[in-house]
């Protein structure tokens, strides 16, 4: 068989999902990578600037201490104690002048000595430096500060150390009268005086511009992002080729095998290819099981009965058509699944079911002819199941009341006898040519006179979650109102041709949510009468208290609503 491209078979849902998520993951990864790289570069830049500024500050400090301790005493010695030559004796003047020369060749290192009350007005502190004065004065233990400062739109990395007055500084900084004449000549008598020993003299700071470097770091990380993005798309494209070749095409072929029949009749359902495949394999599995069972039994006899093909699978057992060798009467045989017969828990469910079939009598329950150990011989069950009837869409209006009158009557009889069915669904309801409805399975039923093995064993919800009442999903069994919910789902299905919830596979918690927010029946059938809609909505109430409490009430309301429609049509 030639490979068919997958796209021709159904939507490329799986591929789209895979690539959407991969793209998101890769873009997210690229973003993360570039942010990390920027952060790292910035960290390195800061560390470097810190080291550099510290070197410069230490250098300035060394110059100042040299002037203070070597040069100034030497000059005093040579020229007498009262001389003051600014160019050779002022620490501030010498250090700033040296650093100005230094800055001529290295313009990226800006040295400043700022003071609130300087001799030289050039050294007056700006507003930021004033703040720093306050910060240093607040705690004399503070001897160093580093940080990023924005000035004129540009970022600088700044290191600062405070400088305090000592005794040798005081001749020039305490009283104007004591100050050397050369100092007053140069700067005037206004600034730089009236200090005492221990006062904060000034702040030495070194600023290194970092804006340009940060910009470069940004650019670098952007480049990294772009490269990752490009690389990702190339990678995705390659993966796409690989995925298409290795998975999608083969999956497509598999799908075309299993979905061959379905494609003609039904529209593609929700879920991707794997969901479709899962559903198909599920039905295939049950078919194989039935075929194997059928094949094993086919030439076989059970008692006087020749077993023929299976009719339908119930919760615990198969129903086979068969005929009697003696009288050639057609019959139906109820035979437990092999796994049920092996499991004592399910075995007791099956026993309950067989017992209920034997004790209950109702026109809608096939009569029991005899019981052969585990096998129940029932009268012939002909016709087709409600599910095959409903697979084409909603039920014809003239069939609705006859079918539901039988169904409600049967359910009422079960409830009146203390039996809750728990598993009303269209697959196990057969309608024959005369319009007689038959319930052919009670595998999950519980009677108030018999112990319920499912409750005793604490098993979770059993049966089909679609038709199951919310309290059954929560594991509460034995309430007749659960069957009323099941009838509500059947009613919804029969009147609209759709289920009240989407059939997607989901967890039981999810199912509860869906059951709470069911789709209103008007969505599928706009012309539905208000009376019928009310009946459906009440039967499908999430809370048991709000539901119909008795099947008879449901039937009376349904009959009345149905009659009104008929009268209107007539």
């Amino acid at each position: 068989m030639p490979l068919r491209r997958h796209g021709q078979i159904s939507t490329t849902n799986l591929k789209q999902r895979f690539f959407l998520w991969s793209t998101l993951i890769l873009i997210g990864g690229g973003l993360l990578l570039s942010v990390l790289s920027f952060w790292n570069t910035r960290r390195l830049l800061m560390a470097e600037a810190m080291a550099k500024s510290e070197v410069i500050l230490q250098e300035v400090e060394a110059i100042r201490s040299y002037v203070k301790e070597e040069l100034r005493p030497k000059m005093n010695e040579l020229h007498g104690p009262d001389t003051f030559i600014i160019e050779a004796m002022s620490t501030t003047y010498i250090s700033t002048t040296i650093m100005e020369r230094f800055a001529q060749s290295m313009p990226n290192y800006i040295y400043r000595r700022a003071s609130l009350n300087p001799h030289n007005p050039r050294n007056l502190a700006d507003s930021f430096e004033e703040e720093m004065f306050d910060w240093f004065e607040a705690d004399s233990g503070r001897s160093f500060w580093q940080g990023v400062v924005k000035k004129n739109g540009e970022a600088f990395f700044v290191s600062m150390v405070p400088d305090y007055f000592a005794a040798p500084c005081l001749p020039c900084h305490s009283k104007v009268e004591d100050a050397p004449q050369s100092l007053i000549d140069r700067y005037g008598p206004k600034g730089g005086f009236r200090f005492q020993a221990g006062d904060l003299a000034g702040i030495d700071s070194v600023a290194i511009p970092v804006s340009a470097s940060l910009r470069e770091a940004w650019q670098g990380s952007f480049v990294i992002f772009i490269i990752t993005l490009g690389g990702s798309f190339v990678l995705l494209w390659l993966l796409n080729l690989l995925f298409q070749h290795l998975v999608i095409e083969r999956l497509g072929v598999m799908l075309s095998l299993v979905a061959e029949k379905k494609r003609e009749t039904s529209v593609p359902g929700p879920g991707d290819e794997l969901d479709v495949l899962h559903a198909s394999l599920g039905s295939l599995h049950s078919y194989v099981r039935s075929a194997r069972k059928g094949a094993a039994l086919q030439p076989n006899f059970i008692g006087d009965y020749v077993v023929r093909q299976p009719i339908v699978a119930g919760a615990m057992s198969w129903l086979y058509s068969a005929y009697s060798v003696r009288s050639e009467d057609k019959v139906a045989l109820k035979i437990g699944f092999a796994e049920v017969l092996q499991n004592p828990l399910y075995r007791s469910c099956l026993d309950t079911e067989l017992q209920l079939f034997e004790t209950m009598s109702h026109p809608c329950l096939p009569r029991v002819r005899e019981r052969l150990d585990d096998v129940l011989v029932l009268e012939e069950v002909s016709g087709r199941s409600l599910s095959s009837l409903l697979s084409k869409g909603r039920l014809a209006d003239q069939l609705l009341l006859p079918i539901f009158s039988q169904l409600c009557d049967l359910t009422a009889s079960l409830h009146a006898a203390g039996i809750v069915h728990h598993d009303l669904r269209p697959q196990i309801l057969m309608l024959d040519e005369k319009g007689l409805l038959r319930l052919i399975d009670m595998g999950l039923a519980a009677s108030d006179q018999l112990p319920d093995p499912i409750v005793a064993a604490g098993l979770g919800p059993q049966g089909d979650l679609v038709y199951m009442a919310p309290e059954l999903i929560q594991g509460k069994r034995g309430d007749p109102r659960s069957d009323i919910y099941g009838l509500g789902v059947l009613l919804f299905l029969a009147m609209t041709g759709h289920l009240p919830f989407s059939e997607e596979r989901k967890s039981s918690q999810n199912w509860l949510q869906h059951k709470e927010q069911m789709i209103p029946p008007k969505k599928y059938r706009a012309g539905l009468s208000a009376g019928l809609e009310q009946v459906i909505l009440k039967a499908l109430s999430f809370e048991r208290k709000k539901r119909y409490q008795w099947v008879e009430d449901l039937w009376e309301d349904l009959e009345q609503a149905g009659k009104q429609i008929k009268e209107k049509n007539d």
Binding site: A412, A416, A417, G418, P480, W550, E552, D553
Partner: protein
Amino acid sequence: MRLLVFSDIHGNLEALQCMLRDAADRNVHRSICLGDLVGYGPYPNECIELLRGLKNCRCLAGNHDVAVLWETSPYGMSSAANEAILWTMEQLTAENKAYLAALPDRLDVADMTFVHANPYNPRGWRYVLDRKYALRSFAATRCRCLFIGHSHRPLLITRKSLLTIDLQAVSASMRYRVDDTRRRIINCGSVGQPRDNDPRSCYLIFDSRKQEIEFHRVAYDIEKSVKAFHSAGLPPELGARLFKGV
């Protein structure tokens, strides 16, 4: 949903048939018989078979039903009753005995409980006619409506508070609304041998939509029943009491 509740037929087929005909005209969906299908009367098998064939009907075991199976001793009853039990034991078919043996002592349906005599000791067969036993019955159940029989006297007991009750004798056909949350014990009287000085059969219908209990009395051909007592050779006082309703 309309639920028919009746009790204490005691093999009185004529009364049972008239009662069921009357109830059928009143549109009932389900029936519950609170026991004592047999004993006293001349038609035990026929009554059992009639009820077995009745659609959506369940029965409970009464003291006479278990006495004919020797599950309680018939010698504790009055001599006439004892004689009738021994007679019934001979008459019952094996199939009907098996049916009686499978009857439950108590049923719980929605917010209702059904027992033959009382819920706190179902096989003790004590009558619930006064405050003491009514309070015990309330304590032994959690249902809103408790339906009992056994005493052959229709009666409505309403719990007013934790320790006070209201006893209401039911005479003739009456309706009671039960749409509040108060708990009640309802005795449905007897079909086959009423003892409240009214010889007519008594039964009740519970209407779940209207939340209403309807007591009904049905007259039947007592002469015909008494003749059957005589031809069956049962003690004559059992027939005679039917005329008086005691």
